[in-house]
């Protein structure tokens, strides 16, 4: 499926404004303003000064919280986003509700306590983000993430992402529970199709690692597979596409 750009100028705008540059500008901006986010439940709440709010939105991190606060604009980050900004980009400090900064190890433990299999979801999230895809929560579509080629105002998301795991030393393979029965696969693909997205399964392979820490997360690997329905009725004429295996 080709990317569905919103409007005729969208693709050009995206090309002129690469995500990698936007994210790098965000990194500088947050560092410069010494941004701090505080953990609250399964989110991290981040106040930013208005001049820094725009870059956060352009990079598609977090969701704005509409408040009457005139000094700060508030954003709510998911744990994956918070950890990515904090650990991978190193531009965000994260604090407990008491105000003390968390170490990376503390943060990791906290997030694992909130989300079972956080390491897998984070690995999948950072795998796509480091390739400069925009990754947003996918719960609206019954999947883990949705991936956009650029900002959602310019393009529809192409992929609906489900994260699976394998290769663990313990017996928790596939414990995430998705796509374990046919009806789930049929359901998920049908839903993806109705919103014009391709199902992308990211299998995170633990490669024998048991408990992993942020620094050893590199030992995990991610394999991408797209799963599509193929219609025998519709593809009889399409010799070239079928021969290329693209349909």
């Amino acid at each position: 499926m080709a990317p569905r750009w919103k409007g005729r100028t969208a693709e050009a705008k995206a090309l002129a404004d690469p995500i990698s540059k936007i994210v790098s500008d965000l990194q500088s901006s947050l560092l410069q303003s010494e941004a701090h986010a505080s953990l609250s439940g399964s989110s991290a709440l981040l106040p930013v000064e208005p001049q820094h709010a725009e870059i956060l939105t352009r990079a598609c991190f977090g969701r704005p919280i509409i408040t009457a606060d005139k000094v700060n604009q508030w954003f709510q980050l998911s744990l994956e986003e918070a950890f990515y900004l904090s650990h991978h980009l190193g531009c965000l400090k994260i604090t407990h509700h008491q105000g003390t900064t968390c170490s990376i190890a503390e943060l990791w433990q906290y997030m694992k306590s909130k989300i079972a299999n956080f390491p897998h979801y984070y690995k999948a999230y950072s795998h796509l983000r480091t390739k400069n895809w925009v990754v947003r929560p996918g719960s609206q579509y019954g999947v883990d993430f949705v991936a956009y080629r650029h900002h959602p105002s310019l393009v529809h998301s192409e992929y609906a992402v489900i994260v699976l795991s394998e290769g663990g030393s313990s017996s928790d393979d596939g414990v995430d529970g998705r796509l374990m029965v046919w009806s789930d696969l049929y359901c998920t693909i049908r839903l993806c199709g109705s919103v014009a997205k391709t199902l992308l399964v990211l299998t995170v392979n633990k490669n024998g690692h048991g408990t992993v820490s942020p620094t050893t997360l590199d030992g995990y690997s991610v394999e991408e597979r797209s799963i599509r329905r193929w219609s025998a009725e519709q593809n009889r004429e399409d010799q070239v596409a079928a021969a290329n295996g693209t349909k």
């Binding site: 690469p18 991936a147 394998e166 046919w182 109705s194 010799q239 295996g245």
Partner: protein, 267 residues
């Protein structure tokens, strides 16, 4: 950037849903009434005799042009697999006889396929029928359409030897019977292996030069969708030819492609 209204106040993304025409309910209605396919029942039926040792039917009388894309040729004779046989019998294009010249009823044929002895059970037959009805050309993976005039890359003297060997094998009918039974039997019903070679509808198809299939087909009989490991193992058996997986449930045949994605690194 102006107008970055990509989430409204309640945080809902405005990605629209595309409501595709829901013709699936209509299809169900058609299935119930049995009018979903326009079958053309033939008036002149071909005739074949079931060979229990081979697990195939030997064609005695051919009527119609479907034999261009159905049946394998050995020693100048045409044999069809159980799925081909039942498919033709269902549409009235083939009368199947046993060795006592008694015609097989459809019931008896359905019983035969439920034995699952010849590499094909009911679900695989449904897949075969689905594709054939749409005009695809379907053969058993690993079973050549014909042994005669196989185009090889050998030099002329070697190929002459091969032809001689083939000729001998073909004339010595029993040798061929054994090899076919082996081939059919080795198509285990379980496990993920390619079972069919599928070609797009093609009036120029010839058994002596079929070319590469458009895709290979694997029927998944597990109770769950295949894991990454199983898909990779299947792909390694396919020599680079695209493979599709299919799953059959309640008479519905669904096909999936499960390819490596490798999303590009974006700018």
């Amino acid at each position: 950037m102006e107008g970055l209204e990509w989430e409204d106040a309640s945080g809902e993304l405005s990605d629209e849903e595309i409501y595709l025409e829901d013709d699936d309910d209509n299809e169900d209605l058609l299935n119930l009434s049995g009018h979903s396919k326009k079958l053309q029942f033939r008036r002149d039926a071909s005739k074949a005799i079931w060979n229990e040792d081979m697990g195939m039917a030997e064609v005695i009388e051919k009527k119609g042009k479907m034999w261009i894309t159905v049946g394998i040729v050995r020693g100048g004779k045409t044999y069809c697999s159980i799925e081909e046989t039942i498919f033709l019998a269902e549409v009235g294009a083939l009368h199947l006889m046993d060795t006592n010249n008694v015609q097989f009823s459809l019931q008896r044929m359905y019983e035969k396929i439920s034995e699952e002895k010849n590499g094909c059970g009911w679900e695989l037959f449904e897949v075969y029928r689905h594709l054939k009805s749409l005009g695809y050309i379907v053969g058993r993976h690993g079973v050549p359409w014909t042994m005669k005039g196989l185009k090889g890359e050998n030099n002329s003297s070697a190929s002459q030897t091969n032809l001689d060997n083939n000729h001998n094998a073909v004339e010595g009918g029993s040798k061929d019977v054994c090899s076919i039974t082996e081939l059919l039997g080795s198509l285990q019903i379980g496990g993920m292996k390619p079972v069919f070679d599928v070609y797009l509808p093609n009036s120029k198809f010839r058994k002596y030069s079929p070319g590469q299939p458009n895709f290979l087909l694997c029927l998944i009989r597990d109770n769950m969708p295949p894991s990454r490991v199983k898909i990779e193992a299947l792909e390694s058996l396919c020599d680079g030819i695209p493979v599709k997986c299919c799953h059959v449930e309640h008479g519905r045949v669904s096909f999936f492609t499960m390819k490596k994605a490798e999303l590009p690194v974006l700018p």
